[in-house]
Amino acid sequence: MVKWVVWLPVVFLLVRSLATRWFWPAVWPGEWSGRAWGAVRGEPVWNSLTLALAVMVGAVLIALLLVASFRKNAWVRWAVMTMALLPPLAASVGLHGAFLQLGLTDSWWGVALVHLIPATPYAVMAVAGSLSRFDEDLVAQARTLGAGRWAIWRYVKGPALAPGLATGAVFAFVVSWSQYVSTALIGGGRVVTLPMALVGYQQSGDEAVAAALSLVFLGAPVMLSVWVERGWES
């Protein structure tokens, strides 16, 4: 029952994207049209997807590297967490100047880098969480059994950290997937992502197109979390 309720907004969005001439007090649309779905272009979806995947991999790798240094230095932890707390507009405007000087604006790479800034802290939190629950004695035990560095990772530490890594990856993906201000500023309009396509239609009140794009927008994170959850169960 509960699972079913979760899909209600999705059903509503689907109906809204296909409905036309739907006036109060009609409960059900009078006519249907595929117009809104014609407005879903490939380029923004592709850009959003490649960026989010790259940021996901990048954030998790950085998290693994940083988490190792946490134990020694609390300052690193604070510095990383601050990145998540920065107001996005202020941070992006400031970064825009810096990125301009480095020649990173108006490019896919620049946008990927700027997405890493809010995405990394989430990955770090997830990875740090699962690492703090990890019993280091297990590593010692594996070592006494003759396991090398690689084998320890492959059979002991890796599986133990996997849930944290997966959660971190999903967080990083979603954070990048939903960036708007930073993409618009650093991408200079050259790197068009789904949120950028969506915002215009939302503002002009073209609800059908906004609903269609919202469904696409919802699709990737939902599929990703379903996939991660499956991985859990198996």
């Binding site: 409905a19 036309t20 001439r21 739907w22 006036f23 109060w24 007090p25 006519e31 049209s33 117009r35 014609g38 407005a39 405007v93 825009h96 100047g97 301009l100 000087q101 604006t105 108006d106 618009a184 500023l185 200079g188 309009g189 050259r190 068009v192 950028m196 396509a197 915002v199 215009g200 239609y201 939302q202 503002q203 002009s204 009140g205 073209d206 609800e207 059908a208 197109v209």
Partner: protein, 350 residues
């Protein structure tokens, strides 16, 4: 034979490095987006060998702030924007910050008022007129036959029908221009007094106002209020076509006139390719392009000369009527003062 080879070589060279021109535009209108994708882009490529890139923005202000940051950082060339669609306060901000290149020399195809001031800011050739917009209101003929056509008539109508009228709260674009008709018809204090008088009879007793034009559209379509409004004369026809308004909706303007303005094209100071930018502007502001846009998108034809006799949307008023009733925007300073006063004397008034 030699010529053919030369031709092929030039063609190959052309293919290897396509010349690009980027146009920053507001992309909230699906029909316009599609027109640019399916008509303008292939035509610009065929005619001038330019690859058109649309740089989409939710607000033009974002482009202006991007340019200002670029100027501060010393990026004086190679911008991702060659042409920007702009007007009003964004133009004022851009001109003041010196982030536009110009003056732009273009044939004067538009009425003189298009070249003077843009919301009170002297244009001085730093932007060139493109399309025009004019304020219209819409009502549903299925609900009542005739709307009030004067400011006083509207006030009387609102008082006779409590809860059936509202407008987006200024500084929202359309709500703001709506209140300026009161300013023009009744003066600064008189206009505010009339708006204040209407307030208790508005939707939700005037305690809250819609924040966006999309919200106003929704209230109107759902029969909660009886008037919609827009700065686009063909907005009701578009909404009917799109299926968000019933087909019985029509538009009207005040007998005393309705405020209009032009929107413009400008070239950023650090455009990558000024020549390409001018080529694109020449195409977009050509008579053929504007006629085509008027025909395919239902936009008003903004240039001088007689009405070219275009097919109008069902709810769109004739061009002569709109032109006859054209009122220019008041200066930006007065506009800002009026918006502030509205806030104190209408919005917050008890």
């Amino acid at each position: 034979m030699g010529r053919a080879w030369l031709g092929i070589l030039i063609l190959l060279a052309g293919c290897a490095k396509p010349r690009e021109v980027s146009f920053a535009m507001w992309t909230g209108d699906e029909a316009r987006n599609r027109y640019f994708e399916e008509v303008v882009t292939p035509e610009v490529r065929a005619k001038y060998g330019l690859t058109l890139r649309i740089v989409p923005y939710g607000h033009t202000g974002e482009v202006v702030s991007k340019l200002i940051t670029e100027k501060a950082a010393g990026k004086t060339s190679g911008s991702s924007v060659d042409v920007v669609w702009i007007n009003g306060e964004n133009f004022r901000a851009a001109k003041r910050a010196g982030v536009l290149w110009g003056p732009i020399e273009m044939p004067r195809l538009y009425p003189d008022e298009a070249y003077g001031k843009d919301f009170g800011t002297p244009i001085e050739g730093m932007e060139t007129p493109w399309q025009s917009a004019q304020f219209v209101m819409a009502w549903d003929t299925a609900r009542f036959a005739e709307p009030p056509r004067t400011v006083d008539g509207l006030v009387a109508w609102v008082k006779a029908h409590p809860g059936r009228f509202t407008y987006p709260a200024p500084p929202e674009f359309s709500g703001s221009v709506f209140t300026r008709h009161f300013l023009l018809a009744k003066g600064f204090d008189g206009g505010l007094a009339a708006l204040r008088e209407m307030k208790p009879y508005l939707w939700k007793q005037g305690e809250t106002y819609p924040a966006t034009i999309a919200e106003l559209d929704r209230l109107f379509a759902n029969n909660e209020i009886d008037f919609a409004m827009s700065y686009g004369p063909s907005f009701a026809s578009e909404r009917i076509e799109r299926g968000t308004f019933p087909p019985t909706v029509r538009t009207f303007v005040f007998d005393s006139g309705t405020i209009g303005n032009y929107n413009y094209l400008a070239v950023p100071f650090n455009a990558s390719d000024r020549e390409a930018a001018l080529t694109l502007i020449r195409d977009l502001t050509s008579r053929e392009r504007l006629l085509d846009m008027a025909q395919k998108l239902g936009h008003t034809f903004p240039q001088k000369g007689p009405d070219p006799g275009l097919k109008r949307g069902v709810a769109t008023l004739p061009m002569e009527l709109l032109r006859e009733r054209f009122l220019p925007e008041p200066d930006a300073d007065e506009l800002v003062r009026f918006e502030k006063a509205w806030r104190e004397r209408v919005l917050l008034a008890r």
